[in-house]
């Protein structure tokens, strides 16, 4: 149990010792570990994305009383790998009128914020590549970058659908970032730290979803919107904008966008698991497994929502953010602040 709990930490430690034993100076050991962490994160990214792409298709199938992918591999579990292979080998088409460089770079940049964000997520006790003091702030800052590649993609495609989609995406992501940040503020107030590890440790007795149910709901909604998932999938808006931002993308680059979407979802659900569902806390199972289970639960909710709801219209979307979520989250912060004050200082303050 203890062994399982610390298995990844121990592996990291082992690699570190190995590098040291190989005669590298401490600086280079640190560099090496950075590379190892990066590879690990990228690995997690890709694996998670591949898994969730399949799981989404499966769950969507179940919701629609279909079995979902069921051909390749046992019960269809190798389907995404096959799809990925197919997409990788497809021709990389760049439209004639497109801004070639930006068009190509966009698909790469889309991964940058995701990978950066994953670096601070604690997958288990001590299982974060970086444990920044400003963890949550860093997360917010980094995720705010994710608008830019989408804008790049939409603009460079030189397609009206793409441009409209990217404009929608930018407006939507900027608007929903605000309630997202505010909903996290309540947790920060209670936990008293911005360190993600610290936030998880603060939840050892009670999960913050109990103390901050409103914030959790707001966070969930904003997370869906930030990741451009249905019912907030306006930038893609298949029935409106054909494929929106991704209209002109094909082959591998389209696959990258597709994977990035799932990675982003994974980041968002890990943040939710960390901030509200107690991170690695849980009985019996190893911490990182608990963490992944919670993430899986939230991801499944994302998928469930997507296959149930119609798409929201763009003006309703903005109204909902500015007129409902922002005031609600502000009120939540306010109430939480008062609550924390009373909890700390008692009621004798007058």
């Amino acid at each position: 149990m203890e062994f399982l709990n610390n298995i990844f930490v121990n592996i990291a430690q082992w690699i570190r010792e190995l590098l040291a034993a190989l005669g590298f100076s401490p600086v280079w050991v640190e560099m090496g570990m950075a590379v190892v962490y990066l590879v690990a994160i990228l690995g997690v990214c890709v694996l998670v994305a591949l898994f969730y792409v399949l799981w989404e298709r499966k769950l969507a199938g179940y919701i629609q009383r279909r079995p979902g992918p069921n051909r390749l591999g046992p019960n269809g579990w190798l389907q995404t790998i096959a799809d990925a292979m197919k997409l990788l080998t497809k021709e990389d088409v760049v439209p004639q009128g497109a801004d070639r460089i930006v068009h190509l770079l966009a698909a790469l940049f889309i991964f940058v914020p995701t990978v950066l964000a994953l670096a601070v997520i604690p997958f288990g006790e001590g299982m974060a590549a970086l444990d920044l003091n400003l963890g949550i702030f860093y997360l917010i800052a980094v995720t705010s970058l994710s608008t830019i590649p989408i804008f790049m993609a939409g603009w460079s495609s030189n397609n009206k659908y793409s441009l409209v989609g990217s404009m929608r995406a930018v407006a939507q992501m900027v608007s929903y970032e605000i309630p997202l940040v505010f909903s996290l503020l309540g947790v920060i107030l209670i936990a008293g730290t911005m360190k993600l590890q610290g936030v998880v440790e603060a939840q050892s007795s009670v999960w913050f979803i109990v103390l901050q149910p409103v914030a959790f709901v707001i966070f969930l909604i904003c997370a869906i919107a930030e990741t451009n998932r249905a019912p907030f999938d306006l930038p893609e808006g298949e029935s409106e904008l054909t494929a929106g931002v991704y209209t002109e993308y094909s082959g591998m680059r389209w696959a990258l966008f597709y994977l990035a979407e799932y990675c982003n979802m994974f980041v968002m659900s890990s943040v939710a698991a960390t901030m509200f569902l107690g991170g690695w806390h849980g009985p019996l199972l190893p911490g990182w497994l608990w963490f992944l289970l919670k993430t899986f639960l939230i991801m499944s909710c994302f998928i469930w929502f997507r296959w149930t709801f119609p798409r929201i219209r763009v003006d309703h979307l903005m109204n909902f953010s500015w007129k409902v979520l922002v005031p609600l989250s502000l009120a939540n912060v306010f109430v939480t602040g008062i609550g924390v004050y009373i909890y700390n200082n008692g009621l004798g303050w007058w």
Partner: protein, 364 residues
Amino acid sequence: MKTQTYTLNFGPQHPSTHGVLHVVLELDGEICVGSKTQIGYLHRGIEKLVEDRTYPQVIPYTDRLDYLSGMSNNLVYVQTIEKLMGIEVPERAEYIRVLLAELMRIASHMVGIGIYIMDLGAVSAVFYPFIEREKILELMSHISGGRMTFNYMRIGGVAYDLHPDFYPELDNFINEFPRFIEEYHKLVDDNEIFKARTKNIGVISAEKAMSYGLTGPNLRASGVDYDLRKISPYSVYDRFDFETAVGKNGDCYDRYVVRMKEVEESFKIIKQAYKEMPEGPVMAKVPKLIKPPVGDAYHQAENPKGILGCYVVSDGSPKPYRVHFRRPSFNNISIYDELFIGHKIADIVAILASFDIVLGEIDA
């Protein structure tokens, strides 16, 4: 902000134009300021083609007008010829016709509603109606051998009697369908997003609807209680107890509600027709070679999409001199250009889908 408008070719290749409809939109940001609907991408010249066919040979072509409700199209055509020739159809055949037409209506509405809600973004909502439609298509294949193109109605009756396999399947369908209706109402009716997307969107006043010659659920959603099955009952519709579904506001939401209500009413008719179906022959006595007398006839019937009219001119030869179809969707979408103005792209998709158009019918 004052911004430059831009032109967006909405279709002919677009996921939500139900085929090959082409709308040239003039957009100011997301809001439509001008629209031009262009059709004809699926024009096959059926009216010209059938001038070279004998009267019975026309029937397969009518299947391909509104390919989601072939049986109803068959019915209109054969009834027109029967009117032209003055043929009395056996009662059992009439009951079968009504039964099948109403099944067809349910099938067509299942697609209409499903695709409508899918175009609004709820993808699962298309699968549940398609499951029910699948059952109806199975039923159809039991009696005619085909799933969408039936060629089952004949001048003077129907081609064959119902197949014995048909009855248990229909029982099965009748047992399971109410549960679907209940579930679907739960899934869609009260959904706030759905309501926000459809209420007060694409509002058509009763006057406008009448002026534009809208028919079918689109007309009734605007509050005009006009249903040929009630107003001038053809076949044996006067023997059944059902209501017409009428909306109030003429918005997209009402069009959905009316369709759902109509499905329930059709289901009632099916149950009655099934229960009361008489025994007897299914074909009237008609000559081997059908040569209607010189003259013309116009007949129309309430199809799932609206009123399908058929105008046949005979010159006394075995081939029709002229056949013209009044296709309901063709008339219905002529209001699009006016209706789109001032709506957002997303609303345009909603309006487009709420009309339940079939391009095969529009372009003929």
